[in-house]
Symmetry: C2
Subunit: 114 residues, 2 copies
């Protein structure tokens, strides 16, 4: 991992965004598996507009990137963001969210494209 130095201002902005349980969970979920909005709505059990608004904040900050696949908009961590390494390290201190993805797959609600 390369150690990019961020300013205090940049760092606090990133931490403020991740200082919300919903957004932190989203980032943990898409860390290594991109997800579409409806999957996040399902996993987090929140309204679609609420999830979309959280994703917008993350996207406006450049923390996540989006890619359309037909009906669905998939979100992934933006590995080119200056804070990507910081974010990865933060996630290392948290339980892996991958079980939630597995549970989604097992419930047949995972969106698979192509």
């Amino acid at each position: 991992m390369n150690q990019t130095l961020l300013s205090v201002e940049e760092t606090s902005k990133v931490l403020k965004l991740l200082g919300d349980q919903t957004r932190l969970t989203i980032v943990g979920l898409i860390k290594d598996t991109e997800c579409c909005v409806c999957e996040l709505v399902e996993i987090l059990d929140m309204s679609q507009p609420s999830i979309s608004q959280h994703l917008r904040k993350l996207r406006d900050a450049g923390i996540v990137k989006e890619k359309r696949k037909g009906h669905w908009m998939f979100y992934a961590l933006n590995e080119d963001h200056a804070a990507f390494d910081l974010i990865s390290r933060i996630l290392e201190h948290m339980p892996d969210q991958k079980e939630k993805i597995i549970a989604l797959e097992q419930s047949g609600k995972r969106i698979v494209c192509e």
Copy 2:
């Protein structure tokens, strides 16, 4: 550094607290040099009540600890906090704040006890 796993909730609470430029700077300042309130007021150029209120939030969360020395109340990072390792890693991604302490010393405003 030991890798303590925190819950998503605990992590987001810590990040929310550090997601404020003033508090993040405070934590960076006292990382390896304990500081009293008036020094933080001087360095951060903010009102005393404002600094005290930020310190209270950090203390209520257990992130910092306080120690009275005569008139002065000194604050330091609480190394026993479950998120201490996480916080240390976050600070590694930021510019070191020690120059501000040095400038304070050079201006003769550093508080020295004993």
